[in-house]
Structure formats: structure tokens, C-alpha cells
């Protein structure tokens, strides 16, 4: 497998990974050419940007650029939403919006509404963002197709500065067994999402099954160290030193299929 071979061959050459925040002043609004904005920011910030750098972009500004807003006043909660809102203590309009984005309710208890998002992600509130929406009369949904968004941004950067980095769109997710959120990859272009660690030999000299390493999620988590609570201030992080990569996978590869979910 190409990704594994790459990892085997290249990892010893990784001598330093650098994470640098990209900030820009302008508010991103619906219709913004995010690839061009990020390309110009990269060129001001790092004239040496290379095609094997990874640009991690916060989901929120991607959604904003794509106009993924819903006005609260346009939402009419149905009976299922009203009943789940009562059970969870959440705003019925938020619950209606969560349901409209989801294929399944995984867990609904006081304070908690975990769903399977139509994109496959198991996540709280279908990833709907209430904070920093720019205006308080609207909610922000996930991008329609974050893997496509990543490719579009990479194309826009390439058109602007002539270099096409890998692009990773990240969002923060909770974990069932551990406290606190970490960032994961919800959209990806130009690098593998997973790497196969070759298994070692077992005690009888047999090759053990390899382990899959969630490379893109680790990159997203590392970029999250710089994004902090205010994605508005650090909407993108440039990760250098890991590539070049062999292989290209969508972030969808990181989603455990429902039939392989360990808790069904």
C-alpha cells in the first residue's frame, strides 16, 4: 500500500514539524474565495510554502464562505424535535436543525444530543455552531461536502500562489471515554487520512496485523493547539515538515462505518 510504504520510507527523514498560525483580519462572509484569501495570506506569511505543507483550516470559516447559515427565525420545530428538546434541555429550534442534518440520534440525555451526521460523523449537535456566527440570529452548519471544500481550497491556493498544499478541514469533537474535545479532520485533500503501521512479528515469528494510524486526525489535533477557542482569530494553521506524502484520501476514510461501530 502506497501510504504505508511512504510512511516506512519517509518517517526517518522527519526531523522537525512546525506549526504556524495564519491570521487574517477580514471577516469571511458567504461567497468569499477562501482559496484566494488563504493563498494570499500564505504568500505574505511564508514565501517558501511548499506543496507538501499541510494547511489546516477551521470548519467554521469554510462554512461561512460557503454560506452554510440558517436563520433561527426560519426554523419551525416539529414534534420529534420538541420531544428531544424536552429530554435534552436544548432549544427546540436547535434540535430541529440537528435532526435535519442527521441520519440517526445516537444519544439524547439531559445536556447531551449526539447524532450520526448525514456525512457519517458521530458528533454532538451535528456540529452546529452557535458561537462566532458573526451575527447572533443564525446558526452555522457543516460544509455540504468537506472533502470537496478541501479540494476547492487547494485549487484556489494553487491558482493564487502556484503551490498546492494538502488541505485539511478540522472541527472539534468530544470523545465517549475521555474528557475534553480535540480537533479531527472532516475534510481532506492531497494527503492520506490513514497510514498502515506494519505489524511486528509475534512470538512465533508470524507477521501481526498492522495498526491503522489516524494521520489526518493527529494533524488536526496538533493544529488545534494553535486554534484555541477563537477560530476567528486563528482560522488556519500551516503544518510543515511532515510531507511529502504519497497517496490522497478523503477524510471520510476516518469514519467508522455504522456496521463496524463498536457500540451497536
Amino acid at each position: 500500500m502506497a501510504a504505508r510504504d511512504h510512511y516506512q520510507n519517509e518517517r526517518h527523514r522527519v526531523r522537525e514539524v512546525r506549526l504556524r498560525p495564519l491570521s487574517f483580519v477580514d471577516e469571511v462572509e458567504s461567497g468569499a474565495d477562501l482559496g484566494a484569501i488563504l493563498g494570499h495570506t500564505m504568500s505574505r506569511f511564508e514565501p517558501q510554502a511548499a506543496s507538501h505543507d499541510i494547511l489546516v483550516v477551521a470548519q467554521k470559516i469554510v462554512s461561512k464562505a460557503e454560506g452554510r447559515f440558517v436563520l433561527w427565525r426560519d426554523i419551525v420545530p416539529g414534534s420529534l424535535a420538541r420531544s428531544l428538546a424536552e429530554r435534552t434541555g436544548k432549544d427546540p429550534r436547535l434540535v430541529e436543525l440537528v435532526l435535519s442534518e442527521s441520519s440517526e440520534v445516537v444519544r439524547a440525555v439531559p445536556g447531551v444530543l449526539i447524532v450520526r451526521h448525514r456525512l457519517g460523523f458521530t458528533m454532538a449537535n451535528a456540529g452546529i455552531d452557535l458561537s462566532n456566527a458573526g451575527r447572533q440570529d443564525r446558526a452555522i452548519l457543516l460544509p455540504l461536502d468537506p472533502d470537496c471544500s478541501a479540494a476547492r481550497i487547494a485549487d484556489g491556493i494553487a491558482k493564487t500562489i502556484g503551490v498546492r498544499p494538502a488541505v485539511l478541514i478540522s472541527d472539534s469533537f468530544g470523545r465517549p471515554w475521555r474528557v475534553g474535545v480535540t480537533n479531527v479532520a472532516i475534510g481532506l485533500c492531497g494527503m492520506p487520512a490513514l497510514l498502515n503501521r506494519r505489524g511486528s512479528k509475534d512470538r512465533d515469528g508470524r507477521q501481526l496485523e498492522g495498526t491503522e494510524v489516524a494521520l489526518a486526525d493527529a494533524v488536526a489535533a496538533s493544529a488545534g493547539l494553535l486554534m484555541g477557542e477563537a477560530d476567528e482569530n486563528v482560522p488556519a494553521v500551516l503544518v510543515s515538515g511532515l510531507g511529502p506524502f504519497v497517496g490522497d484520501q478523503p477524510a471520510a476514510a476516518l469514519v467508522r462505518p455504522a456496521e463496524a461501530d463498536l457500540f451497536r
Copy 2:
């Protein structure tokens, strides 16, 4: 809360995070003074090492230095282990060892044995390592108390080079809803495990509840980008640029208590 205030005040000053692998040639064996070894390696590698750097150390070498080995020939599987071995298809001796390290079996299906480790971690095979044990006649268990191990290593480094970095002991964990493993923190000293993101205002101007960010797990995941499959080759990663930190928490703070587990 100190950790939150730190985050609020300091994060805008994070201009670059650097991740650098520390390699050393000598095999670490039982009784090794890991603090001294890591201190000497750090001083050769980075004479500028600062007390607010974070040294991420692979669980495996900590366990080795602490002599956390069990010889396979000493393990006699009991009836529960034999029955679970049949159900999961795993070696009955491994299952016996997993049970001896665990407080509860969370999931046992073909190919999968997830337990609650006595330290609280929900993880596959109780974190027992079959690979790179140095010799094939033994398994490696997690450190007895990884938070203590981290403090001891930090003390040893301080004694050796006069600088006491934060120390994070990491291991790779699977995730129930996502494919692939990422590294998390199982031992910690000298930095906060979690940071409170201050909640933003809701649509009516009320302060929303803050989100907890799993800082130490994100640092572990980022270091995992350099550790790769062969912890032996890169047993430690130096993370610079995030600190200084206010506050000090054990990695145990990252463990969701059983009663707050979303799947019980």
C-alpha cells in the same frame, strides 16, 4: 480557573510550535534512569531547552525502564480468560494478562477486547504491548502509575540539566466512532491536562457553558506524528512554543468517570 486564564491570556502569543524527535541509541532496560537518559539527550540535542517545553515520552520505554514485563511462560489462563479468548480469537495468555490489568470488560467480540484498565482508561488489550518488547518471551504492561512516572522523569531531567520541562507519557488508543489510532496522554506532569474555553454569548446575550479542550491529548497526538510505528527509534518528542503553562494536572483528569460514560 488558572488554566483557562492562562489560555485566554497567552494563546495569542503562540507564534510557532516546534515538534522535534529525540533519538537515542541505547536500549532502555529495567532499572534505567530514564530522567537522566532523556536529560542528557535533551542537552545534546537542544542546549536551549526551556522549562516550558514539553517532553512527550512513549509509554513503552517508560514501562521498560520500570521493568513492567511479564514472561509468557509465567501466565496460566483461568477459565474466564479461556472463554474470552475463544470469543475474541486471542491468545488465552494475553487475555489472562489483560484481565489482570483491568477492572471491567467493556467489549469482547471476534478480534476485539476492550477493557477498562485499572487506571481508568478504556482501551484495547489493556494497553499491553506485544511488539518491540525487546525479547519475544515477554509482554509489556502500562506503568504502575504513569502520572508518578512523568513526575519522576521530570525530576531526573531537572537533576541532570537544571531545567524541568513538562513531561507527558503517551500511548496510542483506538476510537469507537473513528478509524485509526491516535496518541493520548496517560501520564502528565508540569502542565494542565485540560483547558476551559470560555463559552461565547448565546443569542440572548447569556454566557454559554464553556468547552473543555483536551490540551494534553492534542499534544500527545501531535508528538505521535513523529513517533510513528517504531517507538524504539523515536521514543521521545520535544514540543516547544506552547508554554509557559499555568497549572498542573494529572493525565487522570482526562479519563471520563464511569458514571459519566456516554455508553453505559
